[in-house]
Symmetry: C2
Subunit: 211 residues, 2 copies
């Protein structure tokens, strides 16, 4: 059966973003260090239209995180634009050909017509909450998995509702000292490590959520 998965980078002290997040600096201070392992990889660069990058375990993890995904769910801040600065002209952070290539369901309070981009990505705006977004994403994904793309708040909501089946953590070897914690308000999910991949840049641990 298709799974509901998620993957996110966190610091060794548990933050998914650094302190003083803002619209200009959505990752917070030092937060770019969370993603260095991915950005340096061959797979990430290729997926985003660049050449070069490093092969190896981190690149293989990047490949793995997009395999078999039929639809994404995304929080409104990840799509972009704050609640108070919602811009109907906003088309996401990723240019005209976003790296999703499947339907994306954006959690929001603002109804908006679907936004079809190049390369197979369509942003759909769902105002009915996490359950409604999941229902629509499942239907769109068919036999594929549904991935909760982030941010931390969206993942927290799906964990708290016990709707996630797998959580793939990328633990960056940095300390942020403050910011947005991933594991807050998530209840008490039962997690079981089912895969570990290590590199000098990050430790990747895939957890199965035992329902």
């Amino acid at each position: 059966m298709a799974k509901i998965t998620s993957q996110i980078s966190i610091s060794l002290d548990g933050f998914a973003a650094g302190p003083n997040q803002s619209l200009d600096n959505p990752l917070g201070e030092g937060g770019e260090g969370l993603h260095e392992w991915a950005l340096a990889s061959e797979a990430w660069r290729r997926q985003h239209g660049y050449e070069g990058g490093e092969a190896g375990p981190d690149s293989e993890v990047v490949e793995e995180t997009v395999e078999g995904i039929g639809a994404y769910i995304m929080g409104r801040r990840m799509f972009g634009g704050g609640e108070g600065s919602w811009d109907p002209e906003w088309r996401g952070w990723w240019g005209e050909d976003p790296p999703f290539h499947v339907p994306v369901f954006v959690l929001t309070h603002h109804p908006r017509e679907p936004l079809a981009m190049e390369g197979g990505t369509t942003f759909n705006f769902v105002t009915g909450g996490v359950g409604a977004a999941l229902e629509r994403a499942r239907e769109a994904a068919g036999d594929g998995d549904v991935a909760v793309a982030g941010g931390a708040s969206a993942i927290q909501q799906y964990l708290a509702a016990d709707l996630l089946d797998e959580l793939y953590l990328h633990i960056a070897p940095i300390l942020l000292g403050g910011g947005e914690r991933l594991f807050e308000g998530v209840g008490d999910p039962k997690l079981e490590p089912i895969k570990v991949v290590g590199s000098p840049a990050a430790t990747h641990v895939k957890y199965r959520v035992v329902h």
Copy 2:
């Protein structure tokens, strides 16, 4: 050259002990879950005089954590007895034959004569702070490594003083939701993962501290 190492179990949300720690419950609520991976292992059981237990990666990690250690340093709470309830009759939590088998240097504010136990363990009480304890432990260890045995507060002090060379984290797949965080007040050490071992019970990541 001999290294200064440390190893500790933390929850996935970063706690080295659960909420509401007390002298009666030094691990805090739920904190026993941090150590299940070790307690179930054949190596831990053998080291502590019991039979049985599971072989496998967790047991190998337990073996590895005692290899080559010539002396330990330990915080006063790990040795036992609070600052206000210091008991000169207290001989530690481990019975007459503690599982260290080398000199142990206890950080304390209370001078006390060395306490020789069976099996090679001697508890030495050091009132001069982390630097003085390290100097004495190095001398006692000879060519062996010095291990900071814990608790979290002792490890934090050695990390903050940039005196640790390696930190071996055992990340238990549990959320404690509160308690004593490992990575607080440790400054900004530069950490590099050098080894990863996974099992269903824990993810073990060894970090080198880049000085």
